[in-house]
Amino acid sequence: MSQPTIIFSGVGKSFPQYHQITGGIKRFIFNLPRALRTFKQARYEVLNNINFEIRPGEAFGIIGKNGSGKSTTLGLMAGVIAPTVGQVTVRGRISPLLELGAGFNPELSGRENIYLNGILMGLTRREVKKREEDIVGFAELGEFIDQPLRVYSSGMLARLGFSVVSSLDPEILLVDEILAVGDIDFQMKCLKRMLDFKRRGVTIVFVSHSLPSVRDLCDRVLWIEDHTVKKTGPVQEVLTEYAAKWAEPYSTADCQ
């Protein structure tokens, strides 16, 4: 068996309470002793002792309540934040699938945005140029490709975003709640695209609240609760337990 693509070993992440200072210099100075003390001592713990491995070609789901640390986990994988303790190992080119329109500029045309986005994602201009026709073809936007992005529908935006990402030949694709926006039709399209990626052997990390999408796409699931791993396992097993846990309090409440 080949080496894992992503390894989290004993990973913990805690944030200082940034609101103490982001409230502003004025506030910070006028409350200096207290602000300094709380800033130094009180840290907000988002993740605690996270351990898991993702194997190449696997579709890996991450579920959990809002604020349980799913996006932080994704941020650690993408390398935009560093763990406080423990180690995150990532093998392979990683591409985040951004939410609609992030990294795009509404005033530029679709084609110009391909360059902007591709370069932000780590390609050089020449590399984007080589892929340009592919991306344009894949996006199937017709003559809209040369029109400013502000006239695009959300579905068209998503198609463009997807095309850029797929042209990067990602080895690992990070998807954070992208299905939360858009209509059913669009969600199905996204899911289909991701299944295509999966078939091509791309490792997918998928964060979602939509249990049906997780079931359709993922092989294994990580359930984060109270900032730590509650369970890791095959998708059906974890989802059943997860659903049962959340169904319980609601069904009793419904009866009363």
Binding site: Y18, L108, Y115, T124
Partner: protein
Amino acid sequence: MKRSLQYYIDLILVLTQKDLHVRYKSNILGYLWSIANPLAFAFVFYVAFQVIMRIKMEAYVLFLIVGLFPWQWFSNSLATTTTVFLANAGIIKKVNFPRNALPFSLVLQDMIHFLFSLPVIVLFLLIYHKVPHWSWLIGIPIMLVIQFTLTYGLALFISSINLFFRDMERLVGILITLVFYFTPILYPVSMIPEKYRPLIILNPISPLILAWRGLFFEGRLEWMYMLISLGYGVVALFVGYLVYRKLAWKFAEVL
């Protein structure tokens, strides 16, 4: 992650191009807008100081303009870069790219606007029966590098800090106004009372503006002032980069 130099160049170019493009595409008058501001200020100060307060100075409008255009580059860059990381929060939180390319491209963009305004300066020189000087060919490139270094250094510092202290933005606004009046843009150094005159080089922008004015007005290369501003520039870049390096990996956390 290791990246090639070519990547950095492409990243900065695409970001700069984006801003220029957006500015000029959405409005054909984009060019006029970028020179309208300093011209309007020149007009206001001319009316206030020469017409109303009767200051005796020759070619006062030209005098104002050669100071106001570099000042516009400086102040615009600082005003826009302060919030540049906040404005790009969405992408900073998701993609691991060199964040300093964002302020860099903004300062570069304002430098390009400044270059576009050079013909206006030439026009006013001609109106006052002066001509561009050969020394511009050496002086302007050197001055561009010096002012870029100083502005980018300060921009890195301010934009990084602003993520952590969000009211930095207001402070910068106030400081820019203060510094403007403490910089000899509206008045010549000779009008400053003699005992305060040595203090002038304590303001990092003063030698810069004086060097520009010497160059545009008389075609003189003010090596002394250029050297002092370069010194300020190097210090600003060093400190700015240090602060940025120390804070950059926390950007995604604090946003």
